[in-house]
Assembly symmetry: C2
Homo-oligomer: 259 residues x 2
DNA sequence: CTGACCATACCGCTTTTGCGGTATGGTCAG
DNA sequence: CTGACCATACCGCAAAAGCGGTATGGTCAG
C-alpha cells in the first residue's frame, strides 16, 4: 500500500525523536503544532505541581498566567480534560468531552475560565504508563478557531511520540538509582494460585476471616497465604502488598473492582 | 501543511471505527494488517485467560495451537512482549525488546517457542487505561519476513484506534450497571491536604505510628486522618483505601514508590 | 463575628494483622 | 520413590487497625 502517504508525518516525528534536550523537544513540538494547524500545545503529567515539582513532566506554550492559575489551584488532577483522557486510549476532540464525562458545575467554571484566557478548543492525546503518573498531550486553538479535523490522526501520532521522548529526556535528568534496590523492585515474584486469590481479596479490603469464608478455607490458612505473598514481595503490610502487585501488573483493577 | 498525506490511513481507521461487532472489527483489523504489510495481529488484554474469560478483551488471528499453548501456561501476564509494552507509550519493534527489558531465560524459551509456531517478528502498540487491565495490539510477521518499517507509524495509529474500538464493542456486551452503585464508585472524594499525605503513606504500607513520626504528629492524629480518608471513600480497610485512590487517579504510583 | 471546616490530641475497646512456630496430605518432576 | 512445593489447619502473642467518643485552637468565607 501507499505507505508514502505518511511522508508528511515522518519529519515531524523524526525531529521529536532527535531532540536531545527538553528545550529542543519544545521547539520540535511547537513546530509540529503549527504545522498541524494548532496554536499551542501542553505536554504534561496529571499531577498537582505544587507537590510534585520533582520528576513531574511538563512542557507547554500556554499563556503563563493561565499556567500559574492552573497550578495554584491544583488543577493537574482535577482538570476535566485530564480526567477524560483517563477514559480512552485514543485522543479526543474537546467538543466531545461531555460524551466521556459528566461535567460538574466546577468543571464548567473551569472550562469557562480557560476560554477567558484564550484556550478555545483542542485535541488531547492520553499517555499512560502503568505505575507512572498519568499524562497527556493537548493541542489547542484560540477561541473561535476551529479544530483542524483532518490533522487529528496526525496529532495523535505526534502527541504519542512527543510524550515518549519527554519521558526519555526526563529520565536523563534523574539521578541513576542504586542497582540493588532497583533489582528488588523490578523482579516480579511468582505467587501460587491460592496466594493470588488471597491477594485479590486483600486488595478488595477483605479481612483474613472474610477471605477464608469466600475461599472456603480457614481464616488462618488465608492469613498464611497472605503472609506468604507478603514474603515473596518483601513487604510487611497488606496495603503495600496490593499496591506492589498492581504496580508490577500481576494484579489489575478489573480483577479487584468487579466482584 | 499536507494533511492529505494521511489519506492512506483514513479508510483503515474509518473501517475500524465503523465496525459494529467484534467480528467486523476483526475483519477491519485483518484487512489493515495485510495492507500495512503484516501477516497477523493480536489485540488483547494482558490477563490470565484461564481466570479471566469474563470481560477480558481478545481478538486475534494467530495460529490456534499457539493461542492454546499460550493460555494454558498463563502467558498473558508473563509474556515479555506484554511486559515491555508496559514501559512505553509508543509501539516498539520486537527486535528492540532487549532495550526495554532484561530478558530472562524463561523469556528466551518463550520467544523461541513462538518462533517455532511461526511467530517471527512484530510491532506492538501498548494500550493502557488507568484502572483497566493492560492491553496491547501486536502486528506480526512470519519468521524470515522483515518488519515493514515505513508502515510502523501507521501501525501505531491503527493499533490505537482498534483497541479503542474493541473497548467500545466489549462495553456493549456488558450488562448495564446499577446507577446507584456506579455513582458511588465514580464520585471522587475530596481529601484534605493532611488526609492526602496520610493516604500516600498508607499506600506505602506505613503504620499509623510511622505516619505520625514522618509527619511530625501523634500516631492517633495520623490514625484519625486515615479514618477520615476511609470515611470519605466509604471503605473500611486501608488496603482498599489505597487501591481506590489509585484507581480514581487521586494517587499515582510515582508518589507512592518514590520516597 | 459566626459557623464550617480543618488539624491537632487523647481515651477505651474490640478486632485484625503480622510473625513465629508445627504438622498432614497431595501432586508432580527428576 | 524421593524431595520440592503446595494447600490445608492449628497455636500463641505482640502490635496495629478500626470505631466510638470528646476537646481545643486556627483559618477562612459568608
Amino acid at each position: 500500500m501507499d505507505t508514502q502517504g505518511l511522508k508528511a508525518v515522518a519529519p515531524l516525528i523524526a525531529a521529536i525523536e532527535a531532540s536531545a534536550s527538553i528545550a529542543q523537544l519544545g521547539e520540535a513540538l511547537a513546530h509540529a503544532t503549527r504545522e498541524m494547524g494548532f496554536d499551542s500545545y501542553a505536554l504534561t503529567h496529571h499531577v498537582d505541581m505544587r507537590r510534585m515539582r520533582w520528576q513531574a513532566i511538563r512542557l507547554h506554550d500556554y499563556p503563563l498566567d493561565w499556567a500559574d492559575y492552573y497550578d495554584r489551584h491544583g488543577f493537574g488532577v482535577r482538570d476535566p480534560i485530564h480526567r477524560a483522557s483517563h477514559l480512552t486510549t485514543v485522543g479526543f476532540a474537546w467538543p466531545r468531552l461531555g460524551e466521556l464525562l459528566p461535567l460538574s458545575e466546577e468543571d464548567e467554571i473551569f472550562l469557562e475560565r480557560a476560554r477567558s484566557e484564550g484556550i478555545g478548543t483542542g485535541f488531547t492525546v492520553p499517555a499512560h504508563i502503568p505505575g507512572e503518573a498519568h499524562g497527556s498531550v493537548s493541542f489547542v486553538n484560540a477561541v473561535g478557531k476551529p479544530l483542524p479535523h483532518a490533522a487529528l490522526p496526525l496529532a495523535q501520532l505526534v502527541g504519542t511520540y512527543a510524550f515518549e521522548q519527554a519521558r526519555r529526556l526526563w529520565r536523563l535528568r534523574e539521578p541513576p538509582h542504586r542497582a540493588g534496590n532497583d533489582n528488588a523492585a523490578r523482579t516480579v515474584p511468582r505467587l501460587t494460585p491460592r496466594e493470588r486469590e488471597c491477594l485479590v481479596l486483600v486488595a478488595r479490603g477483605k479481612s483474613n476471616w472474610e477471605i477464608g469464608r469466600i475461599l472456603g478455607i480457614s481464616d488462618q490458612t488465608a492469613a498464611l497465604h497472605v503472609r506468604n505473598a507478603c514474603r515473596r514481595y518483601h513487604v510487611h503490610k497488606r496495603s503495600f502488598l496490593a499496591i506492589r502487585a498492581l504496580f508490577d501488573g500481576s494484579l489489575s483493577f478489573i480483577e479487584i473492582l468487579r466482584p
